[in-house]
């Protein structure tokens, strides 16, 4: 219902003041958070997908057959974590990376902690028909042999023989 203008009581003025305060606060918070996202690289809903690893995936995709399986090996305390990912179905690098570096274990991601001193670890990898392993800051020697492909100054990829 449209109403004509008339001078109301103080409560309405108070409501207007409170709403004005809310508007100023809301705009202020919005601008502050937006500036964090725009200028500080803060992510409200982080995807835990490091952009740098796209290169690893692209390298593996270019160098390996479509049905290869990847492993990303990284140190976690005293043991090393092997994360598997099946490559063939997935369309773009990020899917593989999510499986490889995702925050939650699923049946597919097959998170497995391995002790590099245990020779069974090698069999575990080979049983999964793994072709490529990205080595991240793991001291050599490793019980793995294969063609070594430089990735960056700290990491390399080993292509395991069939």
């Amino acid at each position: 219902m449209r109403q004509s203008g008339k001078k109301p009581d103080g409560r309405v003025a108070l409501t207007a003041l409170v709403l004005w305060g809310q508007l100023v606060f809301g705009l202020g918070m919005t601008l502050w958070r937006d500036s964090l996202i725009l200028f500080s690289d803060w992510k409200p809903y982080p995807s835990f997908v490091p952009r740098e690893f796209d290169r690893f995936i692209e390298l593996a995709i270019q160098s390996s057959p479509a049905n290869s399986t990847l492993v990303y090996l990284s140190p976690t305390g005293d043991v090393y974590t092997a994360r598997f990912a099946r490559l063939s179905y997935f369309l773009y690098p990020r899917e593989v990376l999510w499986l490889g570096a995702g925050p939650r274990t699923t049946v597919i991601s097959r998170w497995a902690e391995v002790d590099l001193a245990d020779a069974n670890w090698v069999r575990l990898i080979k049983d999964q028909k793994v072709n490529f392993v990205l080595i991240d800051d793991i001291p050599s020697p490793l019980p793995l042999s294969g063609e070594r492909i430089p990735f960056d100054s700290a990491r390399y990829v080993i292509e395991l023989p069939n």
Binding site: F25, R33, Y45
Partner: protein, 481 residues
């Protein structure tokens, strides 16, 4: 001309234009559906959001249903159906547009529309800037993004995609509206482009604000409506976190809020076309996010209650509103749940059985819900205001349509929080922490809408305080504005 050529020659800008073209097609199809339900077109500020909501639903349902015929060509078949609709309806739209453009007073008023909405364009522009500076977010990439890519590459939805855990390893039972819209845009782009697709989500945010403005404008002055739409648009969580992200929260908000508006209108005015629109958008909300089913159930309960309360008024036709509401559900919701049941698509996060019901979680769930309402950093003083107004208006909660809006502002959230009693996460508190604020977010436009409905005297005050330019009356623009 040079600037236009420069803009079009940039690959990114060309991609964004193609995405906007895909959305344009959705709008035309959606407007056609809206006109079918409601021959008298609403104001422009309501028409565009309705078109987006209904058109997106058309695309999602089209790809889904055509996938049963031939999943490899489902997207193309949907595109073909849309082209037919655009060919039939597009000419009428063009004729309407030519007629309106020929009226100089209309053009003068529309230019006023652009100036009045400068604050909204600012908020929208901010959302677009933030969206392009960040990625789609976890769900936007891993949940909706995966689905969209698969549907694009495969041409539709293969049943094995839902049943093979290697193919869809997470969020298997999540609905398909947002990924279908992304697939639709990818079809226009002819490739996957997760950068250009980001523009779609701020468009839902703009549509929500536009619908909110239109809903208030039908009852109140321009400045009152603008004040409240800015309050909604600047709600901290909505503006900076939800609107630019690739999550389905804001699309769902459009559907749930549209349902509230039109069902509320039906309760007040009794027009079946309002109920038809409300029923359709409420059913489509289930396709935006799983939470949509709780809002649909809430609306069903509200309609049943209203029909019973007004039984003397509508004695011979008591069943017809209920049938009106259930009909879209039979065509939209039921087939989706039947599909999930038939293929035994696993639910990823909840096990709804009495065996898994954990009553001992209730204190934690209740405390989280209460804490959520008082999180100033996310909502400002919205919920404090809401509860204060609720207390002050406690004597008016009887048999009024506004009570429906009031209940809609918090009851579905409480029901959704209660669903965490069935969460399968260990610990479930992690699940609750991740989801709680986004569940509360859905209530925000409804809460602001109810507050606006209770603040009619503020409208009078604003008209008394502000210059004549913003008042209603002789100097006010037409109701479309």
């Amino acid at each position: 001309m040079t600037l236009l050529v420069m803009l079009l020659s940039s690959p990114i800008n060309m991609s964004i234009l193609l995405v906007l073209l895909s959305v344009g097609a959705v709008l035309i199809v959606g407007d056609f559906v809206a006109r079918f339900l409601r021959p008298e077109p609403p104001s422009f500020t309501e028409r565009m959001p309705l078109a987006l909501a209904l058109g997106s639903g058309f695309v999602a349902l089209g790809i889904f249903y055509f996938s049963f015929l031939n999943n490899r060509y489902a997207v193309l078949l949907t595109l073909g159906a849309s082209v037919l609709i655009i060919a039939m309806y597009g000419r009428k739209l063009l004729a309407d547009l030519k007629y309106l453009l020929s009226k100089s007073r209309y053009m003068e008023q529309k230019s006023g529309l652009l100036i009045t909405f400068v604050p909204l364009w600012f908020l929208f522009g901010l959302a677009v800037a933030v969206a392009t500076a960040t990625d789609l977010g976890f769900d936007g990439l891993i949940n909706w993004g995966f689905k969209a890519q698969v549907a694009f590459v495969q041409g539709g939805w293969e049943s094995s995609y839902f049943t093979d855990p290697w193919k869809q390893f997470t969020h298997q039972d999540y609905p398909l509206l947002v990924p279908s819209l992304e697939t639709w845009a990818y079809t226009f782009l002819r490739s996957v482009d997760e950068q250009s697709i980001k523009i779609i989500f701020p468009l839902f945010y703009l549509s929500l604000l536009s619908l909110f403005y239109g809903a208030l404008r039908s009852r109140h002055s321009i400045i009152f409506s603008l004040l409240f739409v800015l309050l909604l648009g600047s709600t901290p969580y909505l503006a900076s976190l939800a609107a630019p992200s690739g999550y389905a929260d804001v699309p769902l908000m459009l559907y749930t809020f549209a349902a509230i508006v039109f069902i509320h209108r039906w309760m007040e005015g009794g027009k079946n076309s309002d109920l038809a629109v409300g029923a359709l958008v409420s059913a489509l909300g289930v396709w935006a996010k799983r939470e949509g089913i709780i809002y649909w159930l809430f609306n069903l309960l509200a309609i049943l209650t209203w029909v019973w309360l007004t039984r003397n008024r509508h004695a011979p036709n008591r069943a017809s509103p209920i049938i009106f509401f259930l009909l879209p559900a039979a065509m939209i919701i039921a087939p989706w749940f039947a599909f999930l049941a038939y293929y035994r698509v696993p639910t990823s996060d909840f096990a709804f059985s009495m065996v898994s019901l954990a009553w001992n979680r209730l204190p934690i769930v209740a405390a989280t819900a209460i804490k959520q309402f008082f999180d100033i950093g996310l909502w400002g003083g919205l919920w404090v205001l809401f509860f204060i107004f609720s207390f002050l208006r406690r004597n008016s909660f009887h048999n009024t349509p506004d009570t429906y809006v009031w209940l809609g502002a918090f009851l579905p959230f409480l029901l959704l929080e209660a669903s965490f009693l069935f969460s399968v996460w260990e610990p479930f508190t992690e699940h609750l922490a991740l989801a709680s604020e986004r569940l509360c977010l859905q209530q925000v436009p409804i809460a602001w809408y109810w507050l606006a409905l209770q603040s009619s005297s503020l409208d009078s005050w604003l008209n008394w305080v502000l210059p004549a330019t913003f008042r209603k009356g002789k100097s006010a623009p037409i109701s479309e504005l």
